[in-house]
């Protein structure tokens, strides 16, 4: 238990450390050398440092993968955590690159610093199996995200979004802390496996149920599952686009992975069953109910939206519902399919917010009518949007379809009991095509406003968006590669 020196710890958390160092470097350079420069230069330099930092961290993960399990699960470094961290870094790099051209703030150094701090928090989050560290990382992540959401000082919507996000977030953090402390009281342990081995033999007592529900509420908030979703539409709408994409993509990936870990490791033995007419108490029925509610409400509410950001928020709930299906199935295949799904979903969402940002800078809003005739004004950007939205709708051969297929197949493989939930999910994804097509109809079918000329998209943004679109197509057309990577990582645990 002892014998792990600080040098050893530092070696193990090298990827996180690199990101944190990059974060402070960004702040220092911006504060001391670039006070006179324009926003664009400052953003470019900050983004360059951030990208180099994240890239260095990625290289470290790739070249020297570590393997360790420190005291009480404080730090768990294994192929799975390495893989998820790499995915988080990629998503952050993309979000930072898409932020370079934005003009919403003067405080460039602080903004990029917070994005990197959030990334570091997510990386710590996914490499821990200890409730204390999990809670601390979640708080670091959440606090960074609150500030990032409210960062556009000139926009009242941004402030509103920040406050809403903060209030709901604070509340759910309290719930989660309560749940976790009950768990500690029941088991006398703060490591997930310790908790599981202590509570396992006793089965489900009422206190454990309370702890379970509290924990699900806490994480349900993070992943924007219904009925803990109320912050999402406002946060998605008000936050500056790069913050929104970080909330929608990176934070989602990290939260889902840790949610899966907490349930599957911490509550092992308390699964229960949500099978049709074979119900048994446990976490599976809780998750199944939340999943069903998220799919139904998310998809139906998205139909009524007239703002693309809000539409993406409701569709995010729907996708959270599909992904919760993997938790309800709780097998190693379903975890693999969850990671594939959430990563490709994150990638797609970053792209979608990149498009929103590009159109917003030109037209000033994200109303669906502002996208009318976009295919005539910016053909390449429209093609990217087509790829992103169809992938979200689950049309092959794009990544979103394969994600859904793996997920549903894995859910059924865990037993035919979840068939009702799979049928609901597939039916609801048929509904989702309607609202995605409605956006695409505006882009491809409607005529552009008479006065509108070609839409100017900064070359860097366009390049990044095309790369993301290409990745979405490739991950869809040849998913075997990523899937093998994930399956190896999951089975290596």
């Amino acid at each position: 238990m002892t014998g792990t020196g600080y040098a050893e710890i530092l070696r193990l958390v090298m990827p996180e450390t690199i990101v944190v160092i990059a974060a402070f470097l960004v702040l220092a350079v911006d504060r001391f050398f670039l006070t006179q420069a324009g926003t664009r230069v400052r953003f470019t330099v900050a983004a360059a440092i951030a990208v180099v930092g994240c890239g260095g961290s990625l290289a470290r993960l790739w070249m020297a993968p570590q393997h360790a399990f420190l005291t009480e699960g404080m730090l768990v470094v294994d192929p799975l955590s390495n893989l998820v961290q790499a995915a988080l870094l990629i998503l952050t790099i993309l979000a930072v690159l898409l932020a370079v051209e934005s003009r919403f703030t003067e405080h460039v150094g602080e903004y990029v610093l917070l994005m990197l701090m959030a990334t570091a928090a997510m990386m710590f989050l996914v490499s821990s199996e200890n409730v204390l560290v999990i809670f601390l990382s979640l708080e670091l992540l959440s606090l960074s995200l609150y500030v990032l959401t409210a960062f556009s000082k000139s926009s009242i919507q941004s402030a509103e979004a920040g406050v809403k996000y903060f209030l709901f977030g604070g509340m759910s953090a309290a719930f989660m802390l309560f749940g976790l402390s009950l768990l500690y009281g029941l088991s006398g342990s703060i490591s997930l496996s310790g908790i599981a081995s202590a509570i396992g033999p006793h089965g489900l007592d009422p206190m454990l149920m309370v702890a379970l529900v509290m924990t699900v509420i806490g994480f349900g908030f993070k992943v924007a599952a219904v009925p803990f979703h109320l912050w999402a539409p406002d946060a998605y709408q008000g936050a500056p686009a790069p913050s929104a994409s970080l909330i929608a993509a990176g934070s989602k990936v990290a939260s889902f992975v840790i949610f899966a870990k907490v349930l599957m490791i911490g509550f092992a033995g308390a699964e229960g069953s949500a099978a049709w007419r074979a119900y048994a108490a446990g976490y599976v029925p809780v998750v199944a109910v939340v999943a069903a509610a998220s799919m139904v409400l998310g998809n139906l509410a998205a139909i009524a939206q007239s703002s693309l950001r809000r539409l993406l928020a409701y569709s995010a709930m729907a996708h959270a519902g599909y992904m919760l299906l993997a938790l309800a199935a709780h097998t190693s295949e379903s975890v693999a399919s969850l990671i594939y799904y959430v990563f490709t979903y994150g990638l797609t969402t970053v792209g979608a917010f990149g498009v929103v940002a590009a159109v917003e800078t030109e037209t000033g809003s994200d109303k669906l009518s502002d996208f009318n005739g976009l295919s005539r004004r910016a053909p390449l950007l429209s093609l990217c949007t087509l790829v992103f939205l169809l992938s979200l709708a689950g049309i092959p051969p794009l990544a979103g379809f394969f994600g859904k297929f793996f997920l549903f197949a894995a859910a059924l493989q865990s037993g035919m009991g979840l068939l009702w939930l799979v049928i609901l999910a597939i039916a609801m994804s048929a509904v989702s095509l309607y609202y995605y097509l409605r956006v695409l109809k505006g882009i491809y079918v409607a005529d552009p406003p008479a006065s509108a000329g070609p839409l100017r998209v900064p070359p860097l943004n366009l390049t990044v968006l095309c790369l993301i679109a290409l990745a979405v197509v490739l991950l869809g057309a040849a998913p075997g590669w990523l899937l093998r990577l994930i399956e190896n990582a999951v089975s290596a645990r």
Partner: protein, 503 residues
């Protein structure tokens, strides 16, 4: 060689997108070249596999961890439908020659749709088949919503949602079959050998069958078809009625019936007089035949007449499949080919030759224009196509529907007189439309002089000639196609079907 049908089509899409927006002529020529190239590839493939047995074309692992393969294979049924796709695609491009609004985008979507269709007909891996099936949905939407006419956005969305709901049902069935089989494969042949539990087949069969049959226009899920066909631009209506509805019927035969043959077994009890899913679907198909014809009889809009006639004719396909007799099923496949060609031709006459010139499809307004005099070519083509559609001997429809009825007579003879009624009504509505649109007495209404209407162009004549020739050839020499179809029906894929209720 056959795989090139898919590759050429998607290559065509890519090149279309790279063309400059102004290059309208190049875009048309390229589309024609692409469609013709795919057809040539089909002919070459036919020459290589003239027997109609199952032949694997490409087979490489795709997603090994799930046992999914990129597996293309063709048998006589696929080749028949590939030939149909090629013919209709070429004719469709010819009848879209006058598209000058966003031309390259039109042809890009058009070719993407064709590519997806070729893919479905060639896939031998259920997963791959599903992928191509869904790829075909999106271009349809944009083709109709952008270049269509009457209520185009409504028709397009309805079509897309119906297709997607159908494919969602198929997806549930396919995933469940994959999991229940536990064989770690999506290969059609392997899955058809798996003895699924009967109670599983009893719900999976109707689910997957209806999922596909929605696209084949099974009553009462047919309502997308008339609105979609009417809203679509001519080339797209031709593809929709000619080819896309066949995707549904093909899926019914190739996936639903081949994988879950015992789903058609008797239930062991009777509900409302029905003893099995087979009886239920046969009756629905029959209702489609009669209902479609009846509704076509009272339409005011010329294109709706053809739209509902498609529902009626596709009913014969589904009825033929449900007979589970060799002659009935062969007739069903032949009817797919026949209806594809004839419906394509009818839509071409109505949409391109008549509507694009007169800008009305109202039968009462068309009458006074004396189109029989002013557009004699259109009138002639419509009369011929109408004769084919009525099922007169010498045209493809006759052989096909006759075989279906013979099969139906063996399987469930009480239905046959009703189907016969459908045919009689079919004669009536075709006659009525022909009379009202082309040969009505010119009353005191507005008569339009001959010179006011632009003459029929060369591409239209060529397209009409191709489709007419195909229908007559298939009517006079059905043996050519039957030689492809019959061995395919005897292939090991349908072993389960033959062991079951097949007689």
């Amino acid at each position: 060689m056959l795989a090139w049908t898919i590759y050429i089509s998607f290559l065509g899409v890519a090149v279309q997108m790279l063309l400059p927006g102004k290059a309208v002529r190049a875009s048309r020529a390229l589309a024609l070249l692409t469609a013709a190239g795919s057809f040539a590839a089909t002919l070459a493939g036919w020459a290589r596999h003239p027997g109609g047995e199952l032949a694997t074309i490409v087979r490489v692992p795709w997603i090994p961890s799930l046992g999914i393969e990129y597996h293309l294979a063709a048998d006589g049924i696929s080749i028949t439908l590939l030939l149909l796709t090629g013919l209709v695609a070429i004719a469709g491009v010819l009848f879209s020659w006058n598209i000058d609004h966003r031309t390259k985008e039109f042809f890009a979507f058009y070719l993407a749709l064709i590519g997806g269709v070729y893919g479905v007909f060639l896939s031998f891996d259920v997963f791959l088949l599903f992928v191509f099936y869904e790829i075909a949905i999106i271009p349809k939407y944009f083709l109709i919503a952008t270049w269509g006419s009457t209520r185009r956005e409504y028709g397009a969305m309805k079509l897309a949602i119906y297709s997607f709901v159908g494919s969602a049902m198929v997806l549930v069935g396919v995933i469940a079959a994959y999991v229940v089989a536990g064989a770690h494969t999506m290969n059609l042949l392997e899955l058809s050998k798996v003895a699924f539990p009967v109670h599983f087949q009893m719900w999976a069969f109707p689910l997957v069958f209806v999922g596909f049959a929605i696209l084949a226009g099974l009553w009462p899920f047919h309502t997308w078809a008339p609105t979609g066909h009417v809203a679509a631009p001519t080339g797209a209506s031709m593809l929709l009625a000619g080819v896309v509805m066949k995707l549904g019927a093909y899926g019914c035969l190739r996936v639903a019936m081949a994988l879950f043959p015992r789903g058609m077994d008797p239930w062991g009890f009777r509900v409302l007089g029905f003893g099995s899913w087979r009886g239920v679907f046969a009756l629905l198909a029959l209702i489609g035949i009669v209902y479609g014809a009846m509704v076509a009889l009272v339409q005011k809009d010329f294109k709706f007449v053809i739209g509902y006639s498609s529902v009626s004719h596709m009913g014969f396909v589904l009825l033929g499949l449900m007979t589970l007799r060799q002659i009935g099923m062969a007739g069903a496949v032949l009817q797919m080919f026949s209806h594809g060609v004839i419906a394509g031709l009818l839509f071409a006459v109505v949409g391109r030759m008549v509507y694009d010139r007169t800008h009305t499809r109202d039968l009462d307004e068309l009458g006074p224009m004396r189109l029989g005099k002013t557009l004699p070519f259109a009138a002639t083509v419509f009369v011929l196509a109408g004769m084919a559609s009525m099922g007169l001997p010498g045209f493809s429809g006759f052989v096909a529907e006759l075989q279906v009825l013979m099969g139906a007579w063996q399987a469930f003879w009480p239905l046959v007189p009703c189907a016969g009624l459908g045919i009689v009504v079919g004669i009536a509505y075709t006659w009525r439309a022909m009379q009202k649109a082309f040969f009505a007495d010119a009353g005191e209404g507005r008569a339009i002089a001959a010179h006011a209407l632009p003459p029929i162009t060369l591409p239209e004549e060529a397209g009409a000639a191709i489709l007419l020739a195909a229908s007559i050839a298939a009517g006079l020499f059905p043996q050519v196609l039957l030689k492809l179809i019959l061995p395919a029906l005897n292939s090991p894929l349908f072993d389960g079907l033959r062991r079951g209720s097949w007689q």
